[in-house]
């Protein structure tokens, strides 16, 4: 039996600074018997990318410094200290890794300081666990939530198949051996001369294209393992673009071959691998539910294909909704994952909590 650290009602303050985004959230939790309610009271995210551009990289350690400046104003706007000098939160959740060491440390140090000053419990959260929890922020998903759950975590930096046996109990059953799915989208888009960010641009172009127009490799699809590989797709696309006799700058005009067809074919290759590996993992590990989280889970073709295949091949498995509004890095999902830990009585000592840049699930 886990040690009870909090009442049945509590508010979690969360901080996320693992990469380019600085984000703060306040999540309310109330529990009565087996019922519980979750409400996101406050959520604000500041992205660093335009600031990076403005400074043109002139300021050393700009990432960490910007996190510091942003974090202070985000915390101020979250009104975490009421007029009576009392804190408006009962616990703190902070991303401890994986991510950039200097960026992570900003969030971790701020959270530790708050824990020291207020005496509130603090919990370090794995950023990837946060992505898993993003699906749980969708109210409909909470009602249908049942373990074991198979999660496909797909973003610019990750492509992992995770089996969740319970809250806070994870096993990575498959992962990319080289590039992440989001990276595959961005880099092949770049080879076609599409503007950044390439992923969303590619799916826009793909809408009117024929996904069977070009035959692209689906690496490791026949392979029995649940691992994935996307690096070879770049080479295949490059060979194809060269063969078509095009400089990438011409490709975007689509004058000499159909750009939508090429985009649709690339998208089909990536999503086929993701869906096929998820279905295979589900047949092997027999989950009750499947979730898709991370930036790439916003891709509508992936959502449709996954829903279709789960329905056809796994009639007893529930496909939960994508984490709309929480696809990219955000603090709300960190609060949710922190809440999972806090409910189980898991906390960290603020004196010992440290950033872990190479943390795994």
């Amino acid at each position: 039996m886990a040690k009870k650290v909090l009442d049945q009602r509590f508010k979690v303050l969360s901080i996320e600074t693992s990469c380019d985004e600085t984000s703060v959230a306040l999540l309310d939790y109330a529990e009565r018997g087996t019922q519980y309610a979750v409400r996101l009271r406050h959520h604000e995210t500041a992205t660093q990318i335009p600031i990076h551009r403005r400074f043109g990289g002139v300021v050393p350690e700009v990432a960490a410094r910007t996190h510091v400046a942003e974090l202070v104003s985000l915390l101020d706007r979250a009104k975490i200290i009421s007029s009576g000098k009392r804190s408006t939160f009962d616990a703190i959740a902070v991303t401890k890794g994986p991510g950039l060491a200097t960026a992570l440390r900003v969030g971790v140090e701020a959270a530790r300081t708050l824990a020291m000053l207020t005496g509130k419990p603090i919990v370090g959260v794995n950023h990837l666990e946060g992505h898993l929890a993003s699906a749980w922020l969708v109210p409909e998903n909470r009602r249908r939530w049942e373990f074991p759950i198979l999660a496909l975590l797909v973003s610019g930096g990750h492509s992992e198949l995770v089996l969740m046996r319970d809250f806070c109990s994870y096993k990575v059953v498959g992962r990319t051996r080289d590039d992440a799915a989001g990276e595959a989208f961005d880099k092949t888009a770049k080879l076609l001369g599409l503007p950044y960010p390439g992923g969303p641009e590619m799916s826009k172009q793909a809408k009117t294209g024929n996904p069977k127009a070009f035959d692209l490799p689906r690496p490791m699809l026949k392979d029995k393992s649940l691992d994935m590989s996307f690096s070879g797709l770049k080479t295949a696309v490059r060979v194809l673009v060269d063969k078509l006799g095009l400089e990438s700058k011409h490709a975007v005009r689509g004058t000499r071959y159909d750009l939508p067809d090429l985009c649709a074919s690339i998208q089909a290759a990536i999503t086929d691998v993701l869906v096929e590996k998820t279905i295979r993992a589900a047949k092997l590990h027999r989950p009750k539910c499947i979730i898709m989280v991370g930036g790439v889970s916003a891709n509508s073709e992936l959502q449709e294909k996954m829903a279709r295949c789960v329905k056809a091949e796994l009639p007893d498995v529930r496909m939960l909704k994508p984490p709309s509004g929480f696809y990219t890095d955000n603090a709300a999902m960190i609060a949710a994952a922190g809440l999972w830990r806090l409910r189980k009585g898991k906390t960290d000592a603020w004196k010992k909590l440290d950033a872990e840049p190479e943390l795994d699930l």
Binding site: H52, G57, P60, A101, R175, R177, D178, S231, V239, E358
Partner: protein, 145 residues
């Protein structure tokens, strides 16, 4: 088929890689040149085979884990199970997302390498050319054409 140029201390060697399974040929040529503190700058276009080469190198260094792309994370490091040429650790950096060497400062690379026992492999070194050039005596350049 890829042509590889390895340049170190003013000398250039050319290696041909007939297929994607032949990156071991480059690793063989490279290993005797590597010392603790070496910076290996790996240049080549998207899809040229940088990832495949680095995986072959990691394997030759005894690393059993996969070496996934560090594009998003910017940096990943791997402890070697056994010291090779005095090297204890492989640090893999990808400058693809960086605009210039000033953005590299978030990684605090000099601190990261201060143990003097690491091999640093950098993808997209052209993005951080000034940083690389300032350490030229330790640099091996590998160009995939």
């Amino acid at each position: 088929m890829r042509n590889i140029k390895i340049s170190s201390k003013g000398k250039t060697t050319a290696v041909k890689v007939p297929s994607e399974n032949d990156w071991g040929l480059v690793v063989e040529k490279l290993l005797p040149l590597i010392r603790p503190g070496t910076i290996l700058a790996v240049q080549g276009n998207l899809g040229a085979g940088k990832t495949t080469f680095i995986q072959a190198l990691a394997k030759a260094l005894g690393i059993k884990r996969f070496v996934p792309s560090p594009t998003f994370a910017l940096m990943r490091s791997y402890k070697l199970p056994k010291t090779v040429n005095g090297i204890h650790r492989l640090v893999h950096v990808d400058a693809y997302r960086l605009k210039d060497e000033l953005e590299l400062q978030v990684l605090d690379l000099d601190e990261e390498l201060s143990d003097g026992k690491s091999l640093l492999v950098v993808e997209w070194p052209e993005k951080i050319e000034k940083w690389i050039a300032a350490r030229e005596s330790r640099v091996i350049r590998l160009k995939i054409v």
